[in-house]
Structures are given as structure tokens and as C-alpha cells.
Symmetry: C2
Subunit: 150 residues, 2 copies
């Protein structure tokens, strides 16, 4: 445990989040996600028993979201539903992340197999204990620092 | 970089600090310290160019000090000086850490070769870029959490 750090952030997850750079992506996946095979050697951090909402809260407490893209958050769209559909869990997670979004930014629904491709390109996968299906999200990391000296 | 996290804390150092438990010790060493041989396989985190004061500030921003010992902070005493002697750097570091100490707690001077033994028993060594000799410190980790339910 460390001062002010959410204890759901394991040492390895903290290390990964700090090591990620601008626009590196972190997948937060539900318990059924094919994390290990999709990761193909990239880190998979396991948070068994941890809900997606708690994992999102812990990660977003430290991880800045990318300010220079329209969709710093993406989620796996529920198959067979219209593009505007959001499950209860998806609504809850998006509501939790909304204070982090800038004007004009929003969360992007991504079709299941396209989501897998995005996950393959991510920096790491956090496999939560979330049991709700289609409980998969991607966060793109932003920057912290000074303004550009022109 | 992460929100509110001192960027001197490398991903590996963050990982180590989070992984440490109650009363695990972290050595903060000057640039001449025999870190690699004393560590004997335990982690050595290198912060080249970083002063001891900056390293202490970064580490103590997250690491709680042990509340249940008299000396949660120790330092390598300057050889040949009386026990009460403190170098300028030692005074500065102790002043920086004093707000973290409880009543009755203090920093403990430790003779050089005894310090090496303590360092061998530590969890990890942070090798800073500090050029002042005898600029070596040990911090013992405390706990964060709830009070005991009796």
C-alpha cells in the first residue's frame, strides 16, 4: 500500500501504467475476455474478483486520458444491438469516465472483432473479475506536463 | 507520467514501493554506494543525475514510514565524527523527513559497515546521482489502512 494509491493497482499494474506513454492503450476486460491469447506475450494483469467499475475507478485515478483524440475511451459494442445501445455496465463506466472527457470527446462503441484487433495493438490487458458480458473497455493514455514553449 | 505521481519514480521503483510490505526497508544511496554487490541480486533502481533530496522527496511522497519503530529513518554516519555529527546533506534530508515522523521517532546514525549489513537485508536499493559522500539512507515502510477491530 502507498499513500493515496488505490490498492487495487497491483505493483505490476502501477509499473505498466507509469511505463505507458502518450496514446498507449490499456484494455480493461471482463472475466471472460480472451486476454492471454490476444495479449500474445504482452502483459496481462489479473484482478480476480474486482468489478469493472472498481477497476476503472482505480486506473483512472492515476491515468490521464488522451486529450488530442475524439475517443479516448472505447468499449466493445453488444453484438446484434444498434450502435446507440449501451448495457447497464457500459452506461455506468461511461458515466464514471465522463468527468475525465473534454468537450467534443466521447466513448466509442467498437464491434467485437474490431475490438479484438484494437486489443492486440494495446500496451497491456487488465483482466478484471467482471461477470457482465461485453464489459470490455480501452483507455488511451494522455500526457502530463508543461505547455509547449513556442 | 501519471496524475499526481512524481516523475522521478520510475515504473520499476513504483512497482517495488507498492510491493514492499510493513517494515520492508528501502535504501536510498549516493552515487558511490556499492549498490550492485551489496544488493546481491535484489533490485537496484538507478536514478542517475538525481539528487538525494529530490529522490527522498519523490519516495516519501508515496511511501508511508513505519509508525511502530523508534527509527523509521537511518543514515550512514560520517566515519571518524562523533555520533551527533550530521553533514549538510544529512541535515537537509532529515529536515525533509521530519514532518513524516511521529513524536518520539528520530533518524538513527549507523556506522558504515553496520549500514552495509542493514542494506543487505533491505528490499531494494535506489542508487541516486548524489555526489556528497555518506549520502546514504534507509527508510522503513509503514502501513496504510483501517484501525484494528478489537
Amino acid at each position: 500500500m502507498l499513500k493515496g494509491i488505490d490498492p487495487l493497482l497491483t505493483p505490476e499494474l502501477l509499473c505498466i501504467m507509469m511505463a505507458m506513454g502518450h496514446d498507449d492503450a490499456l484494455v480493461l476486460a471482463d472475466a471472460n475476455f480472451t486476454a492471454q491469447s490476444i495479449a500474445a506475450g504482452k502483459p496481462v494483469i489479473r484482478l480476480p474478483g474486482v468489478s469493472m467499475l472498481d477497476a476503472v475507478q482505480a486506473v483512472s485515478s492515476l491515468l490521464p486520458l488522451a486529450a488530442d483524440v475524439t475517443h479516448p475511451v472505447a468499449f466493445m459494442a453488444v453484438s446484434g444491438e444498434p450502435d446507440s445501445y449501451r448495457s447497464a455496465l457500459q452506461r455506468e463506466v461511461i458515466t464514471r469516465l465522463t468527468p475525465e472527457l473534454l468537450p467534443g470527446q466521447s466513448a466509442e462503441p467498437i464491434e467485437r472483432f474490431t475490438f479484438y484487433e484494437r486489443a492486440r495493438a494495446a500496451y497491456a490487458i487488465v483482466l478484471t473479475g467482471e461477470k457482465q458480458p461485453f464489459g470490455n473497455f480501452i483507455l488511451r493514455k494522455g500526457v502530463i506536463g508543461e505547455n509547449l514553449r513556442p
